[in-house]
């Protein structure tokens, strides 16, 4: 029983990282209709920036906050100077742009910091607590709680503030939003900035566990995309639920089904996707879009 609870808690903590990336992807998608494949790469860059500040002698928390703020501007600038040109065009081209961006960002971090693994200090103590016979590290608990708090804040931002309303309006229909006097371009920049911020938080939370490498979040990005497909692109809540479910499920499967084991557990969400796609093409929580000709 202890092992089981342990696995579930570990799964939830991994799932919360996937959830943060998935939320960032949904945020950009809702605002622009794009899938940003560079989300993971940008998050890794943020973690490296925080690392650089710590190397500079700043306290860890200050480094992280600075990196998160810088990430907001990086996200906004990327939208303004790179993505905007392709936003209204062919969505395929725009996706290829984000893939080019992923390659470029990964390459730049590799040039500056090399491909070697770097140790990233943890924000939370490495001690662990005992919950129902399971040894749970304070770090995973704190990571999960942090992501949950951010999710609630994000939900409040979207539902209770004017900015959130405006962002949703732009997402719904950029043309109508522009006609009602919203600064669509600036709101898109804010949307990308917020998404980059979310990614940055995921990056600094996961870096101590994985150690910093330029490709650190490639796998997490794949899980996040799986969560986005499962949860439906239109539902932030669905993504978080799906991400947690994937985190827990893959952990359980890795231990209890030896045939799959640790090296193949990444296949689990995709097998799940194939099954669900056949049964529910719009995702678990997504709305069915009716196209009228």
């Amino acid at each position: 029983m202890g092992t089981f609870i342990q696995l579930v808690v570990d799964g939830l903590s991994a799932g919360s990282i996937y959830a943060a990336l998935a939320l960032a992807i949904v945020l950009v998608n809702q605002a622009t209709g794009l899938i940003n494949f560079a989300q993971g790469g940008l998050a890794v860059l943020s973690a490296y920036i925080a690392y650089a500040f710590v190397q500079f002698g700043l306290p860890l928390i200050a480094g992280i906050i600075l990196a998160v703020v810088i990430s907001f501007f990086i996200g906004a600038l990327v939208e303004r100077f790179l993505v905007r040109r392709f936003e209204r065009g062919d969505p395929d081209t725009a996706v290829v742009v984000t893939i080019g961006l992923l390659t470029l960002v990964t390459g730049i971090t590799a040039i500056i910091w090399s491909y070697n693994n770097l140790g990233f200090p943890s924000l939370f103590p490495l001690s662990s607590v005992d919950i129902l016979g399971a040894v749970v590290s304070v770090r995973s608990l704190a990571t999960t709680v942090t992501i949950l708090v951010i999710m609630v804040l994000l939900q409040l931002l979207f539902l209770r503030t004017k900015l959130g309303l405006a962002l949703r309006a732009v997402a719904d229909s950029p043309a109508s939003a522009a006609l009602s006097g919203l600064p669509v371009g600036r709101l898109l920049m804010v949307g990308w900035g917020l998404a980059a911020t979310l990614g940055a938080i995921a990056g600094v939370l996961v870096a101590p566990q994985l150690t910093l490498t330029p490709g650190m979040l490639d796998t997490a990005l794949v899980y996040a995309l799986a969560a986005v497909i499962l949860g439906g692109l239109s539902s932030p809540l669905g993504c978080v639920v799906a991400a947690s479910a994937i985190g827990v499920l893959e952990n359980l499967v890795a231990v209890y089904i030896p045939l799959i084991g640790h090296d193949l557990k990444i296949a689990v969400p995709f097998v799940l996707i194939f099954v669900i796609l056949i049964l529910r093409p719009q995702g678990l929580f997504g709305r069915k879009v009716v196209v009228r000709v």
Binding site: L34, F37, R88, I99, G107, P183, G185, L264, I266, P281
Partner: protein, 362 residues
Amino acid sequence: MSSVLPVTRKPVTRNRAGRTVLVVVVALALLVAPLVLPAFANQTLIRIGVYAVAVLGLNIVMGYTGQVNLGQIFFLGLGAYVTAYGVKQGWNIVLVFVLACVIAGIVGLLVALAAARLGGLAIAMVTIALPIVGVPLAKRLDEFTGGSQGISARFTDAPDWSGLYNDQWQFYIILLVTAAAFLLGRNLVRGKYGRAFGVVRENEAVAASMGVSPYRTKVLAFTLASIFGGASGFLYLAAVQYTSPETLSFGHSITLLAAMVIGGAGSITGSLIGGAYYVLVPLLTNAIDPSFTTASQGAILLLVLFLLPEGLVSLPRVVRRLTRGPTKRPVPGNPQQPAPARRPVPEDAPEGLEQPERHDRS
């Protein structure tokens, strides 16, 4: 990204004669080349052929049908593994080739049946999993794949009667298959399926109203792309004679996609340029400094998207348009500027939309 639009209309006969001469010259050059070139140049050309076939497959599903596919390298790897296994078992080489294509095609069909249901960008999100699941899978199935050690198989040594070196013999094998693949691909995209692909890419609703099922067309394109991928895997093994999980890594898949876009999406010649890009540019950047390879690939991809959205294949056309200048009057009925099917919206557009708001608040 659309098909080649003739800028000037010469008399058809002269054009066709010119083309035939060009094709004959190129064919002769390719036949003679391996005999006179050094082994290293031959090996480079061989690898260009291998990847050109993979890029051609990717072009069918992505360039022509508009489905972003991040998993094409998986099918190359699958074809390479099937080939290696078949050669080890001592099967007939033609049978091995057919198996490499068919198995890749079946897997591609299964993936497409699920992925094409989602439509749009979801196919990209599903296919990204292929290389990422493929690498551990290849390590796990070590009975067939040799695990992380990889598996090697030689079957392309030159027979004695030919009097050729190994690299020359390989060159001819790969030239034969690549030429056949390109001929097939060209006929495919120029024929009725090619038109169906184009309509589905432009507008699925229109396609459906014309009696073309978008779902079936997408599944067909994806399956065909996988078959080309499997064939290129066979060629990969013929050329390299060794494969390991590294062959189908995620980074290679991205490079393959970049190669297709840089060569020219929706263009047969572009696929060939893409294959050359895939092989030659890392060769160049590695010679300068290996740590710049990834960043330079990203930068080149973004630059091409900005400056030449239709890829390198459109370079001569763009240069011709620029050098001719704006003074010449467009020929009536034949607009001089063949507008790209989807020209990116100028940057001012969103700015213009912002105007009313600025006015209100000030």
